[in-house]
Every structure is written in C-alpha cells, then in structure tokens.
Symmetry: C2
Subunit: 246 residues, 2 copies
C-alpha cells in the first residue's frame, strides 16, 4: 500500500456499511462500487450476462407491485425469501437466458437497493461481484476516478462476504499503480481477503449470512458467487436504470 501523497493517483475507500457512507473522506468526483455478493450485485451481473436489456431498481415493495401490474418482470425478496407476487427471488440462478434475454427487469431487495439510495450522490454507481471483478477493474482504470467500494452488509451490519470482495477489488486496483489508499477499511479488507483467498468457500463458512441462506435453502448459489470472472458485464446505474457498460 502506497502511503506517500501523490496527487496523480486516484483514491480508494471502503465503506463496510451503508450507514458509514456519509463518513467517507473522498468528497467529490468518485464512482461508487456497490457490493452485495450473496445476492443483489452477483444476481444483477448474472442477469446481464444472460441478456437482460436493463434493470429498474425500486426501493419499495409497493413500487415493485405496481410495475408488476403494468406487465414488467419483477424480482423481489424480503429477508432472503421471494415474495408471492414476484416472478423471481434474487438468486443469480433465477435469471436464466430463457427468462431474461432482451427483457427489462424490475428489482427490489432488502439490502441491495437500499444501498443504492445511499449512494445516489455519486456520479456513477457500478455493481461489483467476484463474477465480474476483472472487467470491473479494467473499466475503473479507464474511468480514472476516485473509487468508493460500498458494502451492502446485512441490515447495515458489517458482513464478511462483501468485505472480502472489497479487499479483492482494492488489491487489483492498487496493483495497477494508478490508485492509492489512506483508508484503514481498505487496508483491513485487503488483509482479510489475503487470509481468505486460498480457500474462500471454507472461509465463508464463518459468515452469518451464509448460515441464513442455508436455513432458507438458498445457499446453492454460493460457489457461483465466489467464481472469478465468469462474465465481462459492468452494470452501471445512472439514477434511473441499470445498463451494462462493460
């Protein structure tokens, strides 16, 4: 980690919870990378990989229900469970090519879309997941802006899986030598990733959310969620819709 001041380098900061987002030091000209590994951001990448045209994130179930009435495909869950009126939950495995190709998807989740609302002041919000980490890294290098990696967490609490991704992405960005960090969260996330990366599926056994998914029978998606680079998509949110900028 480079600790010397260098004005030419872009900064990296990690937020371990949406609640800490107002505390970030980088106050202008930054891109937010939203992270919700065991659900939203991995699923959104999967939907684009399978041909989704665009995704409309909505903050409330009421909005999702209204748009369902207007004929949209809707993905919606609460506390990990698919809601009755919805076409999909938010497992990445829901979004097959047969169901999603060429479609517009309305998306409402407990965690992921709430974090989007926090990040609305950012110029751009991109979705980060292990499955698109290299494409995302390359896109961020091209964009040449400061980066804030925003972990969705679980109900605003720190969560391991999102923090590991933050560390993995920060490490890749720093190795490109066009970024620097002075952020303790970033240093900690990188060290956690280095503890975990040799066998991330074993490491993630200690994550509380992994156990919640198991109880719900939704943990089949975990190996997929930790697979590196199965897609080149870079989902980007402009405040209205998410499209693939990859």
């Amino acid at each position: 980690m480079e600790q010397t001041e260098n004005r030419c380098l872009r900064s990296i900061e990690v937020c371990f919870s949406p609640k800490l987002f107002p505390e970030i030091l980088t106050k202008d000209d930054f891109i937010v990378i939203l992270v919700d590994i065991l659900r939203a951001t991995t699923s959104i990448c999967a939907a684009f990989e399978n041909g989704a045209k665009r995704i409309l994130p909505v903050a409330t179930l009421e909005e999702a229900r209204i748009l369902k009435g207007k004929g949209y495909l809707v993905a919606s869950e609460q506390d990990g469970k698919k809601l009755d009126f919805a076409d999909f939950g938010n497992s990445a495995f829901n979004f097959t090519r047969e169901t999603i190709e060429g479609e517009t998807l309305v998306y409402c989740t407990t965690n992921g879309t709430r974090a989007l609302a926090f990040a609305r002041d950012a110029q751009k919000i991109a979705m980060g997941a292990f499955i698109n980490i290299t494409a995302l890294t390359q896109w961020l290098i091209r964009e040449n802006r400061n980066v804030v990696i925003l972990c969705s967490g679980w109900k605003n609490k720190f969560c391991i899986e999102d923090s590991l991704f933050a560390g993995a992405l920060a490490e890749k960005l720093l190795s490109a030598q066009v970024f620097q960090t002075h952020c303790d969260s970033t240093a900690a996330a990188i060290d956690l990733w280095n503890v975990a990366k040799e066998d991330v599926l074993a490491y993630i056994e200690k994550a509380a959310h992994r156990h919640r998914l198991k109880r719900l029978g939704l943990d089949d998606v975990i190996p997929y969620s930790f697979t590196l680079d199965s897609t080149r998509v870079v989902p980007v949110y402009d405040g209205k819709e998410i499209i693939d900028a990859g």
Copy 2:
C-alpha cells in the same frame, strides 16, 4: 469459533464504529467495552494505574471549561491537540503519578467520550486497552454477561488499531469457553489480529491515525499503547463517573 447455538454461552459482538452501535443484535443484558487504543481508553487505564481516584467524562468543551473553573484537573483535546485551558491532552504519558494520584480528573476528547454517549443504554461500560487486556478478560468472565466491543474509530470511520484490540479481546474471551459469537465483525477482527499480532507495531504503520499522530508529534505513546498487561485496572463507567473496578 463456535457456531452451534448454546444458550449457556454469553455472546460477543464487535461494533467497528459508534454509528453501527444501534445495529447490534444483542438487545439486553450486555456490557459495552469501549475501545480507543491510541488515546482515551489507554490513557484512562494509565491514569488509574497511577492512582487517579475517579474520572468524570464530559461530552462538550463547555462543560470541561466550567469544571476547570471550579478547580478540577481537566484533560481535553480536539483532533489530537491539547486545548489551551486544559491541564492535560489525552496522551497516556500526561497522567503521571505526581500529577494524578488521588485526584478527580475531568476528561473530554474528540472520539472517546462521544462513544460513551452512544453506549449509555448499556448496563455497564468498561474501558478496554492492550495495557489491561488480561485483567479486563478476567473481569468479563466474572461478570458473566453478553459483551459488545465498541470501537471508537476515527470520526465514526473504521480504524485499524481499535479493531485489532477487538479481535485480541474476542479471541481471549472465546478461549475461556464461556462465550460464543455469530457476528461477522468479531470473526473479521480476530483474523486481523492474527495477521497483525506477530509484529503489531509494524502492522500499525498502515493505520491512518498513526500517521495523524506522527504529524502532530504525538506518536511517542504508540509502543506503550500496544504493550500487553502493564496494569490490572478495569475502569468502569456507571453513567456518572469512571472508577477502577479491577
């Protein structure tokens, strides 16, 4: 880490920032351990080790100034710097036996006393530091309550030095086999501590606050702050004053 449910075991949770304190899962019957390693909690332990009778934490400079006018000894700093009207800053080295023995100290700091205000709903608040970690662990085992380790952080941001202490304390408590954890923050803090513990002074070089102190010429206290068990004091706050319960 024990992941199976066991009602007989007390829980451990770690909060990486006072801002995340409202999100804790343990809702009743818990003790808060306040942590501000590179200032308040190490300094408070040092003051009791050198014979302070009691400490009155105050939240505002105005209160500190009024109590100074009434003849109290006052420790007060803002952003790391001692304030003009105060007798002490908040370096542990200020509180020598000559100055503090038998005295009541009024204490007002940027970080530490703000975190106290967050934790006021707890039944008890104890001060944690590397210099009292074993005495604190033994006291917590005797108290037999759930434990929330509250890192003061830096202006509500995650900070490395407090998180390392949280990991060190959690590891000691778990090894006593009367505690369990289901908290991702606790697991992460323990792993960070295990990365750092072989050479914690080298590791802490990456902490942003360490560099702030260096710029202020206040980093002389760092080796002392990471020395294990130089005291047996356990400072406990009852909502009015801090006394030594060790």
